[in-house]
Structures are given as structure tokens and as C-alpha cells.
């Protein structure tokens, strides 16, 4: 078996400032990798580099594509990279307004990827959209409502449905539960955990919430100041943190 996604020496500067430095890892099929660290530690920059949204200044990302075999993400033509990112990948942003089209109905949002790859039967698209709405636990009669009429948690679930409708193999998630209240967070985490299991998704999940990481991820990378300071199985890292920064992170979880 070969890794689904492997990153080697990913480095990205913004001017003189280092956003992330020399990040190496392999993501295996069916695995969920968490990236944790405080704000400004380079998590999101790393994710954007992996997803091909931002070109790294050094390093390479290799993805084992279903259609083309192993490809270097940043060496691909833009056309192929965009095709890849709307067929084999998904990207769930922290702010659903970034990931959704707020001006069109939920059904159109879910159907967009299908139409982008050539679906031209209105009834079928609508049927698939309804099916996905149910899978993310949104009432069927909300299909024709715009996301602006949805609550924050529903928008986030809609964003997940919109990404998963094309059955991607790899999903990038940037703080998918950030900014939501705890009970809504719990439902989304449940949903994500279920979907990851049933669809055999691989995922890279960026979060600052160690609880989210504990629930969803198999492996964990801890970042500080743009570099990975600790890397290991999630339970191991959280139960027995080695690096001083990780110890501080784990110790700063508020007890309930």
C-alpha cells in the first residue's frame, strides 16, 4: 500500500515571516490526521498548501490520484488540479460562507459539483441533493431554502454535504466546528465520525480544539511557530505529551 498523500519539506513564507517550515508526513488511505496548535502556528497555511490552494516556497505534495496515479499536486496544470479538487477532494472551511454559495438554494449548493462534472438531469440532481440533506440531518423541506436562512450548524452540515456529494477520497477540514456552540459541535462531530467510517474517507483536520482531535483523528501533529514539534498516535500524544509545548496545550484544556 502506498500513502494517499505525502508531504515533504513543505515550507511557506509570507515575506520574511515563516508560516510553516519543513513539514513532512504521510497520510494513509482511511486515516484521519489532525493538525493542532495555537492560532498563528501555520496550521491553515499548511492545509492550503496541501490542498493546492497556496503554492509552497519549498517542498512537494504527492497525491495518489484515482484517475492519474501518483501526481505532484503543485506540478499539475491548474485545470487538472481544479478537477481533482472538485472530484477526488473536498474542502470544508471554518466559515461556511466561504465554502457555500449563499445566494442559491441548498439543493443547488449540493448539486454544483455534480453539474460541474456533467450532470444535466434536474430530477436526478435534486434526488441526490435530497438524499444528502437527509444524511447530514437537515429536514427535507429545507431543500429550496438558501443557506442564509440556515443556522450556523446547519450551514456547516450543508457545506459537508456539498463536499461529500462527489464521493471524494480525501477531505481537508479547517476548523469545521469552530464558532459553533457545544451541542451543535457534538452533533457535527458525530456526523463526521459516522461519514468518515461509512465512506472510508481520509482526512486532514486542522483544529485548535484538542477534544475534536481526540474524537476524530487517528494521528496528530502538533505545530508551533510553523514547525511540527510532535507527531504520533492521537491517544499517545494527548495522554503522554513529550514536547513542552504539547504538555502546555494539554494542560490548558479547561476542566469541566
Amino acid at each position: 500500500m502506498s500513502p494517499l498523500l505525502s508531504a515533504r519539506g513543505i515550507t511557506r513564507y509570507f515575506g520574511d515571516r515563516i508560516a510553516c517550515r519543513d513539514v513532512d508526513f504521510d497520510l494513509w488511505p482511511g486515516e484521519v490526521l489532525g493538525v493542532v496548535g495555537e492560532s498563528g502556528s501555520g496550521k491553515t497555511t499548511l492545509l492550503n498548501c496541501l490542498a493546492g490552494r497556496l503554492a509552497p516556497d519549498a517542498g512537494a505534495v504527492t497525491y495518489d490520484s484515482m484517475a492519474y496515479g501518483p501526481v505532484e499536486v503543485h506540478a499539475l496544470s491548474e485545470a487538472r488540479r481544479r478537477l481533482l479538487s472538485r472530484t477526488e477532494w473536498g474542502f470544508v472551511s471554518q466559515d461556511p460562507r466561504e465554502g457555500l454559495r449563499m445566494g442559491v438554494s441548498a439543493g443547488a449548493n449540493i448539486g454544483e459539483r455534480l453539474m460541474a462534472v456533467g450532470a444535466r438531469h434536474y430530477g436526478d440532481i435534486r434526488h441526490t441533493a435530497l438524499d444528502w440533506l437527509e444524511r447530514v440531518e437537515i429536514a427535507r423541506d429545507r431543500l429550496d431554502d438558501r443557506p442564509s436562512a440556515y443556522s450556523g450548524g446547519m450551514r456547516q452540515r450543508l457545506q459537508i454535504a456539498r463536499n461529500l456529494v462527489s464521493s471524494p477520497r480525501l477531505v481537508f477540514m479547517d476548523e469545521p466546528t469552530g464558532g459553533l456552540d457545544v451541542s451543535v459541535q457534538a452533533r457535527i462531530l458525530d456526523l463526521l465520525r459516522g461519514l468518515v467510517n461509512t465512506l472510508h474517507l481520509s482526512a486532514v483536520l486542522v483544529t485548535h480544539d484538542l477534544g475534536v482531535a481526540r474524537l476524530l483523528t487517528h494521528r496528530l501533529m502538533v505545530m508551533q511557530g510553523g514547525a511540527v514539534v510532535e507527531h504520533g498516535l492521537t491517544d499517545q500524544v494527548l495522554d503522554d505529551p513529550r514536547h513542552a509545548y504539547t504538555q502546555m496545550l494539554v494542560a490548558s484544556i479547561l476542566p469541566v
Binding site: 442559491v104 438554494s105 439543493g107 443547488a108 444535466r120 429550496d144
Partner: protein, 287 residues
């Protein structure tokens, strides 16, 4: 060509200077070579405001020759202010013959309609285009729409049609209905009613589209397939009227609805005045 027009010594033939016309012709050639692709050009200030046909008038000025016959229509009519002024403008600066008869014209500049009389080989139809970018209302960034065209990523256009069906039960867009040209580029056919879209498909006439404010030219060469976008289960349809034209009795032309008195009396008449008058004349002659 460089000599001044006989009527008005102050201007070059057809108003624009020769270098500008060459530049516009180059843009037109490129547009014809890549059907449906929007070619940028250095639009000039014209002696009429943006939105009144500056794009179309520049295209016409670049292609019109002394032996051309020009017809100008606005909403199908030959006698509206815009049509009359543009026709008079070219009669003055280019000294060309003008006509209102569709089959006599070699160049037809139009706004909002395609003539009902079928066009033939050798005719050129020049459209005035307000917004050349069909994706503009869906994607505000110009850099992004160009990328979408370059990669033929047209899912978002389909999304807008889906949304229309979801909300209104049918594709409600009635004018400026998006088309796919030659299986490659999505193009805005300018604000013609969708009734006219089938006339663009494999038309024997050359279609040139000029957008003055946005400085874009695009074209559909003769006999090029032009497909109106739709869904398999919601196919493209054109408007239909229960009435026929009150003046000429036509049942297959595009009708305008007019309110004729204060009590709300309505009348349907052809929007193409040339077509309507010719049919009336033929009916009178037959009597």
C-alpha cells in the same frame, strides 16, 4: 479608404481613424477564429453614451465599406431614436446606403432582436452588448471568470438554471439566455429574447458582438452550432403567445404587448416592424 467622406470633411471615413479600425478588425478576426471567446480591444470614445450602442457602432465602423447597405434596429424597430440616429450617423460619416428591409441589408446593427426574416450568406449581424460576460452575475471577479472560460468550468452556469427551476418550476430566464458556442465557450447572446436563440444556431450570417463599455468583441461565424443551455428533463423552450399580431396576423413572430387606452385594452403586435409592415403590404396587395 483613407479619404474623408464627401459629406463631412472633418472626419475620416466611417468616423474612426484607420489605425483604430485595423485594431478592431484584428480583434474581430481573432473572435471569429475562436467562436464565443471574448477578445479585448481598445474601445474608443464614441459620439454617443455608453449603453446606447458604442460597441456595436465601433464594430460596424470597422467593417462597413462604401457598397454596403446598412440596416439598424432597436428592439426590432427601424424607427426608434437609437436606430434612426445610428443609421443617420453612418449615412453621414460613411456615405453608405441605408435600408429597413432585412434582405437588402449587408450589415445589420441590432439591439435586443434578431430579425424575423431569415438571414442569408454574406450578411453580417452586429449586436450591441451591454454585459459581455455571461458569468458576471454568478462570479464577480474578472480573473476568475476568465479562468472558468479557459478551463471550460461551467458548472456554476448550470447551478443558476437549477436554481431557477427550483424557485419558479421552470427556467425563467427570458432574455440574454446563455448559449454554448461550438461546444466550447459559454456566451451571452446579448439581451435578445430567448425566442431568438434558435435563430443563432447554424445561422448563415456572420454574427459579431461588440461591448463598448467593457471593451470586448466576440463572434459566431456562419453555420456554427449555438446551443441554449438546459436540463434533460427541462429542455429549452421559446415563448409562445395565445394571440397573433393585431396588425399583420402573424402567429410565429415575437410579439410586444401594448396597452392602448386607459381602461387597460391590450394589443399584441410584432416587434419586428419591417417584417410586420411587409406582411401588411402583402395582405393589402392580395385584396
Amino acid at each position: 479608404m483613407a479619404d474623408a467622406s464627401p459629406q463631412d470633411g472633418g472626419y475620416n471615413y466611417a468616423y474612426l481613424d484607420e489605425q483604430t479600425k485595423r485594431m478592431i478588425r484584428r480583434a474581430i478576426l481573432k473572435a471569429v477564429a475562436v467562436p464565443g471567446y471574448q477578445v479585448p480591444f481598445g474601445g474608443r470614445e464614441m459620439p454617443l453614451p455608453y449603453g446606447w450602442g458604442t460597441g456595436g457602432i465601433q464594430v460596424t465602423a470597422a467593417i462597413i465599406g462604401r457598397d454596403d447597405t446598412l440596416k439598424v434596429i432597436d428592439q426590432g424597430a427601424d424607427d426608434t431614436t437609437n436606430a434612426v440616429s445610428i443609421r443617420r450617423f453612418f449615412a453621414k460619416v460613411a456615405g453608405v446606403a441605408t435600408t429597413t428591409r432585412t434582405e437588402e441589408a449587408t450589415v445589420i446593427q441590432t439591439r435586443h432582436r434578431v430579425p424575423e426574416t431569415p438571414l442569408r450568406d454574406g450578411q453580417i449581424l452586429v449586436f450591441q452588448v451591454p454585459i459581455p460576460e455571461p458569468l458576471r452575475m454568478l462570479e464577480p471577479r474578472e480573473t476568475e471568470t476568465r479562468t472558468l472560460h479557459a478551463l471550460a468550468e461551467y458548472g456554476v452556469m448550470q447551478v443558476s438554471l437549477y436554481e431557477s427551476i427550483a424557485r419558479h418550476g421552470r427556467i425563467s430566464k427570458a432574455y440574454n439566455y446563455p448559449v454554448l458556442v461550438n461546444g466550447r465557450y459559454i456566451m451571452s447572446p446579448s439581451p435578445i429574447p430567448k425566442f431568438d436563440n434558435p435563430k443563432l444556431d447554424r445561422s448563415p450570417a456572420l454574427q459579431l458582438y461588440g461591448a463598448g463599455r467593457e471593451k470586448r468583441i466576440y463572434a459566431v461565424p456562419p453555420y456554427t452550432p449555438v446551443k441554449s443551455l438546459d436540463f434533460e428533463d427541462h429542455p429549452f423552450e421559446i415563448e409562445q403567445w395565445s394571440e397573433c399580431c393585431a396588425l399583420c396576423g402573424s402567429s410565429d413572430s415575437f410579439l410586444d404587448e401594448m396597452i392602448v387606452d386607459d381602461s387597460g385594452q391590450r394589443l399584441f403586435v410584432c416587434s419586428d416592424t419591417d417584417y410586420c409592415e411587409r406582411r401588411q403590404a402583402a395582405a393589402e396587395a392580395a385584396e
